[in-house]
Symmetry: C2
């Protein structure tokens, strides 16, 4: 193994001052970093797994951003890159730290017993490998497939395999499908075997047959009926003809301002970035409240996901995809298309990641920024004289769409004019399907969405990492429960029996910081700053965090997924800030055994009151698929929101001016129909 | 009392054939009906409470609409009006049934011991009465008010009063406020007393002082600080200047077709109406599935609401407004404004109700019908070649906005292209406020949103009446619970511990039909038709009903509100269809004691399986106000949705064509900024 002593600085072209410390690496920087590492360890045969910005320490950034005024403001922060590399063919993992300021390899070390994230390069390599494997070909022949160009595999993380467990080897499993023609929907033709791949050996080391549950069934045939949604299959002649266009325009331009990756909109200010792992990250969110610019959130991201499947039998019981930690929301991000993914006046940001060779790969239009009308923001009518005042709500949308093999997720951050924030996930794409023998049924673990096609029940958990700075670095979390008053109807203190009250409890330590949802008490949580008391409410200023999409993890607590995805067991965990704790399922999530995740971090009881804290907040859906989710799934939404809760002195949106048809050109549809020609020429 | 024998038919101008049987009464019809009733009972001194369409019997309508093909199709149905009148000054209640076909008063009878809905006329009369009352004036003088034109009252239903209970008298209570100038927000200046009004006597019969909780406090002064949101108070010079217009246009027209009150849109067909009580009602919903027009819902409406407050002390413990049954969502509906309430290409429907004199009052633009872009409907990208197919979602929105004294509710019915349906409530307007003595606190029942202003905690429950006809009149309800498999991790049937399954239970009778939400099992319900089995799923075709907004009623079960609003105790009740059961809180909800509501109807255990059934489905929010909800509340949303669940043969939206920037003129915001002039001339 190389040591730091052997490493010589390489000169770089990077001018630190060009960059904000949170700017992601450019393509040039990625190549520079790769070169520095390669030159630093010339005798190692490495491929680059990850080359990414090493985000500066929060304590430096808080000063740089101007929030920490206790010491002289820091104006320059060293720009560093974090590198994860794999040695071939041992698949040993190395971490490197590179300074882009002076071209120095500052750290290079072997990280034992881990496997880093899977990469697109590996997805492609594995699919090719599988198709060429003689045993796979034999399986396919037995199923009647001669032409291997019809065979496709979705390479998945191995999770935990009975035989190939642990992390000494880099393993994958491939879910197999065929296509009956080009661009055919493969999920309508699942195959009944799963090759196991050793990426060190680059070899299929095993093939598992998926057995029908009952031995009375013979080997399932491949369902050959097509189920497609692409236009050439649906047939453009079959498209609906009666949808008239909706045109959304901003002829005077948009209301947001972009400077680099900093965004100013309607008193909100924030910075965005996109990394290989969490995808879109929102940094340094503040709100201009009169003369005061008030800090709110240091960093918000989707830290981890897990999608556990219901079927308890092999190989289905290995299916619990960590879409962030195993595949990466950055690596899987789509190039967005104007007028299709995004409607209206759109500002795009690109993203850049690295490939195995340390070369950049560029994703144009990776992030969409735009505004949307969001219905009414508030309205009140005085019924006495009919005087109405209604104001329309505008929201700023920052979004990306990712494709993780079969599933696609639209990920939307929304900011509103009343000071509220919302995060929404739109799950779409393809159900994971499994082939049944003719007359076999899915049992209570799935639904047949077409003959022989079992769409298995599953859950989606989304764990947000929220690093708050509500009016300062030190915050607390308050649990709010609503309860009946403890007096029977007729009691002097509850004469009519209507009494209920809310109870607020500040969570003191990481034990109390483990919170479950409670529908029975309409429970929610608040991020509060105990150092600032609201003059009206007389309590600490705060932000309320709410989700209507909590769902329990139905796997056993000590299940494989329960061990690996402990974060999904609770709606909320709160930890003291720790710069090494960014990913709820651990940095090295792939093939993890669950020894490095939020459930472990909280075991040491630490104070979380009036401290620099981090929230790990989970919402999700239990998805029992419907026939209507096939052959492509209409979006299923879930998410959460945060709202100022006794933070401002009033509704912060009362200065939003009302609109009218003179401003937004709204028209009567009935009149439009009558005067169609006139209306169109006016346009 | 008059009897039917005394009544002579009066000729009418109504031509039955002009009307669909579900069309509401016209203004002329209202006047005709009033005349018929007056002439029928010339010796009674009556005021008209309600003059409304008597909806035809469902058995007739099912034939008329073509769904019941077991007998010859009915093509003509007698048009009838239902009248509720009050005799003055006894305030005895009478019901009448009038045939509009032959001008006959078919029924006229005294309904003992009920009080019908409150009317706008009464709201105005009571406010005037209160201002003129010497004892009220004395109270105001003691508070320092000399000019009674500054004093305003929100007349509320009395609910149940310790002294004035029962229904023999028609009573109201008035919540008192002042204004410091014209159009000032009265909720910033609440007064500390509640006049009790007898509407028969037209007299203030009592005045209740709201005592501070602790006797150490002296009488609260009136908080005089202004808290306003109307433009003249905020000051147009203080309005945000940086919101650029968003223009939504449909230059080729809208995609829906309207014929009378029948709407055709994207394979959906339905009819709408608006009555005094439920407001907007959706009738006869069907979906064109290939060659088959499939019936889905006979009738959907917001049947009842209740808004119970938390504070257990008098007079707050009487506050639990039934906004449907006591005030009427039709009577309280707003005239909507183009470009303000409604954005884009809008089709409006008017509504007509009656006043006390039997004259019509007309609400122009009472219902807004329009289309909205609703983000992506579905998307999938093949990550191998990057081929993406994304389709945008369009929704049809049918909406109204009501003002019930302080609160305003936007009520939105949405229909989507993937066959799903959604109902959304946007609660906005003014918090109900109560005055505190200086230094008094709201206790655990409210929050101080400004000095001395207590915004009391409360809940909003919305109970939908859903009369389904999923592929036919006879339907069943199926409860779906998700559970862990009952085997520990390591068991042969749960080796990895991941196993979970869903369990479906068909509800057999009205006892089983009483259902609570269960977050622990991700519970939802399905409306199924056991007579039609889906060829893929092998189970009955069905529709899933889901809300993420169930909240428990925090009042005691035997509380006054618990008795009167029994419907709010459960998420779902299922009853056999009964034409007299339209309102979950009873037809005569005002001053009710709770002897006629859904909780009572289900006491007789009746079968609900494979029958003509009705669902009473409740969702809501527990609202702990924030300072940010004052002086006007940003919309707070809740609702529910229904989705086809193994009903269609595939995603019903796969024939929606993709859009592109050529169709919807989407633009790059960055480019737009550069070429601003060019862009604007092009428009």
């Amino acid at each position: 193994m190389s040591s730091l002593k052997e490493i010589n600085p390489i000169s770089t072209n990077t001018e630190n001052s060009r960059f904000h410390p949170l700017d992601q690496l450019t393509g040039d920087e990625i190549m520079t970093v790769a070169e520095i590492v390669r030159k630093g360890v010339p005798n190692l045969n490495i491929v680059f797994n990850t080359i990414t910005l090493k985000e500066p320490k929060k304590e430096l950034m808080m000063s740089y951003l101007g929030w920490d005024t206790t010491k002289p403001r820091i104006t320059k922060i060293e720009r560093e890159a974090l590198v994860v590399a794999l040695e071939k063919p041992s698949m040993k993992c190395y971490e490197a730290l590179v300074s882009l300021d002076n071209g120095q390899l500052k750290r290079f070390e072997h990280i034992p017993d881990v496997q880093p994230i899977l990469t697109m390069d590996e997805m492609f390599e594995v699919e090719e490998l599988v198709a060429k494997d003689p045993r796979v070909q034999a399986e396919c022949r037995e199923l009647g497939i001669e032409d291997m160009s019809c065979v496709f595999s979705d390479p998945w993380a191995i999770a935990r395999h009975v035989t190939y467990k642990g992390r000494s080897k880099r393993m994958m499993q491939a879910l197999m499908y065929m296509r009956t023609c080009e661009d055919d929907n493969q999920y309508a033709h699942p195959l009944d075997f799963v090759p196991i791949i050793d990426l060190g050996l680059m070899k299929v080391v095993d093939i598992e047959r998926i057995k029908p549950r009952d031995s009375k069934f013979t080997r399932p045939t491949i369902p050959l009926e097509k189920h497609n949604f692409l236009p050439e299959f649906v047939g453009e002649e079959n498209f609906r003809k009666d949808i008239k266009p909706i045109i959304v325009q901003q002829p005077e331009g948009v209301s947001f301002k972009v400077k680099g990756t900093e965004i100013d909109w309607q008193k909100w200010n924030m910075k965005i970035s996109m990394n290989y792992r969490e995808g879109l990250v929102i940094h340094n969110v503040s709100y201009q409240d009169g003369a005061e610019k008030r800090p709110l959130f240091y960093r918000i991201s989707l830290s981890e996901m897990v999608v556990p499947y219901a079927d308890p039998f092999t190989p289905h019981n290995r299916k619990h995809a960590f879409d962030v930690g195993e595949y990466g929301l950055g690596l899987c991000t789509n190039t967005l298309t104007l007028g299709c993914d995004c409607l209206g006046s759109i500002y795009y940001f690109d993203a850049t990641f690295n490939d195995h060779n340390g070369k950049p790969f560029h994703v144009p239009n990776a992030i969409c920024l735009h505004e949307e009308d969001a219905g009414i923001l508030f309205k009140h009518t005085d019924y006495r004289n009919g005087r109405a005042h209604a104001v329309r709500s505008r929201r700023l949308v920052i979004s990306q769409i990712v494709t993780v093999a079969n599933y696609d997720y639209g990920l939307y951050y929304y900011f509103y004019q009343d000071g509220s924030f919302q995060y929404e996930v739109k799950a779409t794409g393809e159900l994971n399907t499994h082939v049944l023998a003719e007359d076999e049924t899915p049992g209570p673990y799935g639904v047949m969405v077409a003959p022989q096609i079992n769409a298995q029940y599953h859950q989606h958990f989304f764990t947000m990492r929220i690093d708050p700075m509500v009016d300062g670095a030190n915050n607390s979390i308050c649990k709010v429960d609503t309860q009946r008053v403890p007096h029977a109807t007729g009691h002097p203190n509850n004469m009519y029996g209507n009494g209920f009250y809310s109870e607020s409890t500040i969570l003191k330590d990481t034990a109390e910081g483990q919170q479950t949802a409670n529908y029975e008490t309409a429970r929610f949580w608040k991020i509060i700053n105990e150092n600032r008391i609201h003059p009206y409410s007389k309590g600490p200023v705060g932000w309320k965090i709410v989700s209507n999409h909590h769902t329990p993890l139905f796997a056993q607590d000590d299940s494989v997924v329960g061990q690996r995805a402990g974060f999904a067991k609770k709606a909320l965990w709160v930890t003291p800030y720790n710069e090494n704790q960014i990913f709820a399922g651990g940095f090295y999530c792939n093939q993890s055994d669950g020894d490095d995740n939020v459930e472990h971090w909280v075991k040491d009881v630490q104070s979380i009151q009036n401290k620099d804290i981090v929230l790990w907040y989970t919402f999700g859906v239990t998805h029992l698929p419907r026939v209507e989710d096939f052959p492509v799934m209409p979006v299923e939404m879930c998410g959460f929101s945060m709202k100022p809760c006794n933070f401002f002195m009033a509704n912060p949106g009362i200065d939003v001016p009302p609109t009218n048809k003179g401003i937004n050109h709204s028209k009567l549809a009935s009149k439009e129909k009558e005067n169609k020609a006139a209306c169109c020429t006016k346009l």
